[in-house]
Symmetry: C2
Subunit: 493 residues, 2 copies
């Protein structure tokens, strides 16, 4: 199927014949295919814009300068007028496509203007409508069993406020009903124990949880993310390294997961009375799209319960629908035994953490506190995103599109590119699909070739390619992606 | 002058006679006085709203639930229909009054909609217009000599990204032209030295720099801000404790500042090769509105230069006009010898840090990095705020209003409340004015009494009252404030 040239696939008739397309409803003017019109790629305007930006702002990580006025649906425009099919989506952060009309409507509402122009300090002067904005949006989307939320501003911020909740919870349990001691009150001002305890968060090798000082201490993705920054001496456990295809290696993989669970338990015993929480991603995204099975996650849940450690699931990259379920951990956990805390950001635009235990709200106000404690303007956007996902049944369509991409990539990679591309993964995880090249150089060459051919794709880990399209990426977009993947591989190999 | 009842002062005629009022231009319908209409205060709707919110969100720090649709100019409305003159302004974060028409216009612009609905990962896919949004706003407001910026999301985030810049800068200088060693690359993944060095940021007693793990390690305001959270073992220097009135204690105060500079230098020597930067506020805000003189700040600048340590000035609370200059440190530093880094947030809505040295941009991309690297929607708001401040000459009017408040409070406090209120401070610092009660209980009682009388005022430190009105707080608002301060004191004492 994917060997047909996409140009033949994308007449409006064929679209109408095959789909009820939400993307077409949202974006009647979405391009039918990528448009690379600059003579060189990247184009000349891009170069001059970047050197202008460079005078005052670090521009060196830029793929290209985008024109968000001209971007539409699944297509991102650059300043040279090129339009690329976007499967990276601002590092997995665009849920409903560019310039989604429902989002634009929410962003021009009176509610939004008032929220932006009068940004409240939410804990001290909560807005009249914050409770209903949460109830109809962020809280309506809450993972089963986690009915409370604390809002923040980014994934790092969400994880760190969750860590703070875990540390205060642990200390309060230990303290019982007693008050802070004089020694605690004094030592903490010098950043010393017992007031500032030597407690820790356990994280996994290759995990990524953010880049501020607490979150970075749990991030174990790459040296370059961490070098030269002081970090807390917290424990690191091994994350399963699965072999693909999964069916072929089921016995080895289960052994690998058992090994990691055992070593995690050994670490817990090595750090007595220290570990307040374990944090884990449902798929280790930045670290290379590393998966583990329900067996591993449910084993972790058992361990954390046995040792009275909190379990935090970091859904910053995996949450909000891309896995085909609203939260990716729902593929992995017993629904009756969810994690203690789930953190979110990125695709939801709003950030924060869900929790269940009332004691995760510290025993006094102003302990889990900061000026803004979130941002109503982002909560309004999250509400719109949640409601569009439900109204348009985007979990179902994302699952379908993901299955279609996976199956076609499987066929392609089992064919003539068998030696080039490996470890296709993300089956039954919606569009959260990834695969590896043999080297970073090969991977980067492939990504560049795809961009030249009109598809923007992201990498992760050392050698992986990750797909992170929006939730309105459909079969016809998938066909273009699949063709360009094949074309690019054919050109390179 | 302040003994006249404000009710007689506020006829429209008197306003016209005495001022060219920017507030009247912006807010023709601004209330002429506070309106407390609920039978009890706080009112019944407030109570029921809070208990609703409490089911899912920590509500215990709430002063009251606000109605931002009905708030206008210097008046904040609550859900019971009360309207309070606001001198706290969302913890010092509302620059141009509630529902400022120019801000509302910016917030309903096409530019804003596109920025919100297509939130970019700014480092990877910068928007076409980000450079011009920065140039006409955040960068136009840059402190003299600091012509580069890195954007962030909050004050904590701004300070921590500045710390990261300082740590990478220090490590790069030490490393020279060599590459990362194998030992560094390996040790950092275990959060160990030399990859994750035992480097530090020196901060001052009573300083406040945020509540995430790195920023909290430099925050020394109160135990309750820090208890039970692991923190880095970083050095803490004494901050001058000045006596008031300043004129009377000039010799003692200079000695106190000398003592603190000497102890800071001793600490630097005690921590050889560790301190990457010193961070200081131009006025220690959360910690109690503690001031020091230009002598102290210029002494710090000299010290940091002598020992090759970076100097970071935290303008999160003091910046963006409230001091009568755009940046408060401009009152304190030699204009030819500014700090290395200035951080901002709050009133600017956008957050980040300014800097000059090109080497504060790390030697490789993706080191100072995260998904969003700021938020164009906030940068658009900052641009609007900056331009209104300039267009309406709000620095000048804020200076005038501040002088007026200070002089009248001085008269009042030197009178019959001499034993009750002390240490009036903030002369020549615009509206950044504060004073102390003898105990926290007395201070809190005063703040509550003021709210009941229709003025919202904030506290800080253990016993201080801080004024943080907007930049459109004018003489007629000051008169109401002064009257209610006097009335409240008279009722209580």
């Amino acid at each position: 199927m994917i060997s047909r040239n996409y140009r033949s696939l994308i007449s409006k008739n064929s679209i109408k014949r095959y789909y009820l397309s939400v993307a077409s409803d949202y974006f009647p003017n979405e391009p039918l295919k990528p448009e690379i019109i600059s003579e060189t790629y990247p184009g000349p305007i891009n170069e001059s814009k970047l050197s202008e930006l460079a005078k005052s702002f670090d521009h060196r990580a830029a793929y290209f300068v985008a024109d968000y006025y001209k971007s539409i649906g699944n297509y991102i425009a650059d300043v040279d007028g090129n339009k690329l099919l976007d499967t990276y989506c601002q590092i997995s952060s665009i849920p409903l496509g560019y310039n989604n009309p429902e989002l634009l409507k929410a962003c021009s509402s009176k509610e939004m203007q008032v929220a932006l122009a009068n940004r409240p300090a939410l804990a001290c002067f909560p807005s009249n409508d914050y409770e209903s904005i949460l109830k109809d949006g962020i809280l309506a989307a809450a993972p089963r069993g986690l009915d409370k939320v604390w809002t923040a501003l980014s994934g790092s911020d969400a994880n760190e406020t969750a860590y703070k909740a875990a540390f205060m919870y642990k200390a309060a349990k230990k303290r019982g009903n007693s008050k802070f001691t004089k020694e605690e009150l004094e030592s903490v001002m010098d950043n010393k124990s017992p007031g500032a305890p030597a407690a820790s968060i356990l994280s996994f090798d290759k995990g990524f949880h953010g880049r501020l000082f607490g979150s970075l201490s749990t991030t174990r993705s790459k040296p370059i993310h961490k070098l030269d920054i002081p970090q807390f001496p917290w424990p690191r456990a091994p994350f399963p390294s699965l072999k693909y295809p999964l069916e072929q290696y089921s016995i080895e993989n289960q052994k690998e997961e058992e090994r990691c669970l055992e070593l995690t338990e050994a670490l817990i015993k090595e750090w007595p009375d220290s570990i307040a929480a374990i944090i884990v991603e449902p798929i280790q995204a930045e670290g290379g799209d590393n998966h583990a099975s329900p067996y591993f996650y449910q084993g972790l849940r058992k361990l954390t319960k046995a040792y009275e450690i909190l379990l935090i699931v970091d859904e910053v990259q995996t949450g909000v629908g891309a896995s085909g379920k609203f939260w990716c951990h729902e593929h992995l956990f017993d629904p009756n035994d969810p994690p203690d805390i789930v953190t979110f950001s990125k695709k939801f635009q709003a950030a924060g953490f869900y929790y269940k235990l009332p004691e995760l709200q510290p025993d006094q106000p102003f302990r889990q506190f900061n000026t803004w404690c979130g941002d109503p303007s982002k909560a309004i956007i999250a509400k719109t995103i949640y409601n569009e996902i439900i109204k348009k049944n985007l979990l179902h369509s994302t699952k379908k599109t993901g299955d279609y991409i996976f199956n076609n990539l499987e066929t392609l990679f089992n064919g003539k590119f068998f030696q080039i591309v490996k470890n296709l993964r993300g089956k039954n995880r919606g569009t959260l699909i990834a695969f590896d090249f043999n080297t970073a150089k090969e991977r980067d060459g492939f990504l560049l070739e795809c961009r030249k051919n009109g598809v923007n794709i992201g990498g992760c880990g050392d050698t992986a390619v990750r797909l992170r399209p929006s939730l309105v990426f459909e079969k016809r977009h998938a066909d273009i992606l699949l063709n360009i993947v094949e074309e690019s591989l054919s050109k390179l190999y």
